[in-house]
């Protein structure tokens, strides 16, 4: 099932880390003012992986406005002048996809799909089988990402962005509290202790934790859950495992964080959330790499913390098998009814299996899964958020090397993640014991998951 063994991936990515370490000594690239800036003009010539036959046709992609695939589309058009790439702005493209499926017409050529939905729709048999093109590049693509598009031995989409989570933090704010620095081998309980002191002395939070338990705060559970080797479901997606020993232990860690009272209690992406970041009230947070794009758009002056962040491995949880977590990250998919699969596959290949495509999407702010790019060009990726001398790409690669190949984001993952807010707050407040609360949570997901799988048949 696993196309590339873990060790092999470690080897190539390890090379990347070494290269990055070297590059860190060189003066870092000039920071771009905006992550969304189209970088099509700076595409480097790379060996053409795409067949050189003249491509022709119109490609329609649905996704949110300001999208890495849009940038890739512009670059693709430049390379193949007879191709037209179009992205109508779609606020709720998931709904539009369902309606178009029902109507039997009007589907776009490609959409940007969350991992759990790729698994769901692969089971529904509505996605285009892109095994041939992915297989061709299997060795060059991040294995943990590959498994997200794999179902019954076939690939149902082109792996999109990799999202290993790191701890992001502000040394200046932590120092101001007279604690720190946060070392790489900091234990979780030490981290919480530090969070308490930072909060007491500077009113800044070292982690995010909304009391409704959705958005970024969920990472206080999801990170230890992943780190300890937990899984929401098994590999088939049929067994729900989230309420086992690991789940309870992870929830225990989340409760410990809540009990400090030191977290930022603001809705994710709400004005107070951004306000806290810009007004230096957020000294740290668990974060996926793609958050960099959003932070950079909002944090635009040194007073707001521009160039003052660091990223590194998350704190050590006793008994952990990994020091990261996967959150978000999408896959580029098409539909089985698509009339021009060759053109679609060529675009997919260009976007995530060539240096040019990886460069464009990487400049936008996501981390493409293309290992040759990660090894050579990732270290030059532009950024304005982290300290000038900080080897932030090296830290991302470190986290990438911690990624598990036995973590499954099956259809049940979406249900489980969506239901966190329903069950966790009562456990945090202590109204329910973690044992009872997790059991209730698990049973709910079990029942909903069984019904979903039944309806997918």
């Amino acid at each position: 099932m696993k196309p590339v063994s873990r060790r092999e991936f470690l080897k190539v990515a390890g090379l990347g880390a070494a290269a990055t370490a070297l590059a860190a000594c060189a003066p870092s690239a000039a920071p771009a003012p905006n992550p969304a800036e189209p970088a099509a003009g700076e595409v480097k010539e790379a060996p053409a992986a795409v067949s050189s036959g003249e491509l022709e046709g119109k490609l329609v992609f649905w996704g949110h406005q300001d999208h890495p695939i849009y940038s890739a589309g512009q670059a693709f058009m430049k390379k193949y002048p007879k191709v037209v790439f179009e992205q109508p702005e779609m606020a709720e493209w998931d709904k539009a996809v369902e309606s178009a499926l029902a109507a039997g017409s009007g589907l776009p050529d490609m959409v940007w799909h969350e991992a759990t939905n790729v698994q769901r729709d692969a089971r529904r048999g509505i996605l285009l089988d892109v095994t041939d093109v992915v297989k061709k590049h299997e060795a060059e693509l991040a294995p943990a990402k590959l498994s997200e598009a794999l179902y019954q031995g076939k690939y149902w989409g082109m792996p999109g962005d990799i999202t290993p989570n790191n701890l992001w933090w502000r040394p200046d704010l932590v120092e101001k509290a007279g604690v720190g620095p946060i070392t790489e081998d900091i234990k979780y309980d030490e981290f919480l202790q530090m969070a308490k002191e930072v909060k007491a002395k500077t009113d800044a939070s070292l982690f995010v934790m909304e009391e409704t338990f959705d958005g970024q705060g969920t990472l206080m559970f999801a990170v230890p859950f992943y780190a300890l080797g937990g899984n929401f479901t098994d590999e088939t997606g049929e067994q729900v495992l989230l309420d086992n020993e690991i789940g309870m232990q992870a929830m225990e860690y989340a409760k410990q964080a809540w009990d400090t009272g030191a977290g930022l209690n603001a809705g994710w992406f709400s004005p107070p959330y951004w306000g806290a970041i810009k007004e230096n009230k957020l000294a740290g947070t668990y974060s996926p790499p793609w958050m960099r794009g959003f932070f950079q758009t909002e944090v635009t002056t040194p007073e707001q913390g521009q160039g003052k962040w660091r990223n590194q491995l998350v704190p050590v949880y006793p008994g952990a098998v990994a020091r990261t977590n996967v959150w978000g990250g999408a896959t580029l998919v098409s539909f089985s009814t698509n009339p021009q699969p060759d053109l679609v596959k060529a675009f997919m290949e260009f976007t995530f299996c060539t240096m040019e495509g990886a460069q464009v999407t990487g400049d936008w702010g996501i981390i493409p899964p293309y290992i040759p790019w990660l090894k050579s060009e990732f270290k030059n990726a532009k950024q304005t958020l982290f300290e000038a001398g900080w080897d932030w790409t090296g830290e991302v690669v470190k986290a990438m090397n911690q990624m598990r190949n036995d973590f499954y984001r099956m259809p049940g993952y979406g249900i489980a993640y969506g239901a966190l807010g329903k069950f966790v707050p009562a456990m945090l407040r202590g109204e329910k014991s973690i044992k009872d609360g997790m059991k209730e949570y698990g049973d709910y997901v079990r029942s909903e998951n069984a019904k979903l799988l039944e309806s997918l048949k």
Partner: protein, 314 residues
């Protein structure tokens, strides 16, 4: 209303008003109206506040919108940057696709969409409402009950099949799905029936019938002038809901040139994987709301004029 008219006639009208209590009545009136104003003004402030937030929000840089504690007034004074971006007045931007964004065009589209829809709705619903309120004919009650029954079905069930239907009719990327199916609605017929029942006396219709007026003449010459107020109410409600409709429009109107303003603005809303662009969204919403407010302000006078100037007294 028939009874109402006759009862009004039977009340004995005294020839002299009660003069001696006049002064105290006036004092009471002053206090009453004073309290009324105080209450209405207090309430107005509460009702104005979110609108104020939107307007002032549209004049703030995004940094001021994204604050830990919200601000009531931008510290550096209001700015029109967001409007300039939307109208593309000497501003360069890195926001993808913004060069294809034509807000005035979208507002015009929405106005066109809503105007035609409302004209059809008001006409057909008033027609049917009148018939159900004032006419007697076989199976009237069953037919009316059927209309009420159709209101009970949750609209979401209709959604997928309706969409399929629109596709088969070839109405994708046209305004027809917003004009035709809603031209006669259960809500509108029910509302107009209730309005007409409580407003137009039977005698008026009867005398017109005796005078030989055709039904269509009765509707257009007698009912509609009297019901102008009710029709305006229905029209305004219909206009705003069509103008602000989002879900269906976003699925049916995909071409850039025919999109409505709500569909276009939704792109600034952000999703779970993109932060919202509040500044553009607020400014765009203010621009989209202005035509609605103008229409409302102009037409709301009509609501009260209605019957007093109408045919009943004449």
């Amino acid at each position: 209303m028939a009874t109402q008219m006759s009862s009004a006639a039977t009340v004995p009208v005294p020839t002299r008003p009660a003069v001696k209590t006049r002064r105290s009545v006036n004092a009471r009136q002053v206090i009453r109206y004073g309290l009324l104003y105080a209450f209405l003004i207090a309430l107005s402030i509460i009702f104005l506040f979110p609108f104020y937030s939107m307007v002032i929000g549209s004049m703030m840089p995004k940094d001021e919108l994204f604050r830990l504690y919200p601000v009531l007034w931008p510290p550096d004074g209001p700015t029109l940057t967001a409007y300039r971006l939307l109208l593309k007045i000497d501003v360069t931007t890195t926001i993808q696709n913004l060069e294809r964004f034509h807000i005035l065009r979208y507002i015009f589209n929405s106005l066109l969409l809503a105007t035609v829809a409302v004209l059809l709705q008001v006409f057909f619903n008033t027609l049917a409402g009148y018939v159900f309120a004032k006419r007697q004919f076989p199976f009237k009650n069953q037919l009316f009950a059927f209309i009420l029954l159709t209101m009970l079905m949750p609209t979401a069930i209709n959604f997928v099949p309706f969409y399929i239907l629109i596709g088969r009719l070839g109405w994708m990327n046209t305004y027809l799905p917003f004009w035709i199916p809603g031209a006669a609605s259960a809500f509108g017929i029910f509302m107009m029936r209730q309005f007409i029942v409580s407003t137009i006396p039977d005698e008026l219709i009867d005398s017109a019938t005796i005078d030989g007026a055709s039904q269509i003449m009765i509707v257009t010459r007698i009912v509609m002038p009297i019901m102008a107020g009710g029709m305006v109410v229905l029209g305004i409600l219909g206009f705003v809901s069509v103008y602000n409709e989002f879900v269906l429009s976003s699925l049916i109107l995909k071409d850039n040139d025919i999109r409505t303003v709500q569909v276009a603005l939704a792109n600034f809303k952000g999703t779970s994987i993109r932060a919202p662009m509040y500044d553009l969204m607020f400014a765009g919403s203010v621009m989209a709301t202005i035509p609605l407010l103008l229409i409302f302000f102009v037409f709301q006078r009509k609501i009260i004029q209605g019957i007093m100037s109408g045919a009943i007294k004449g």
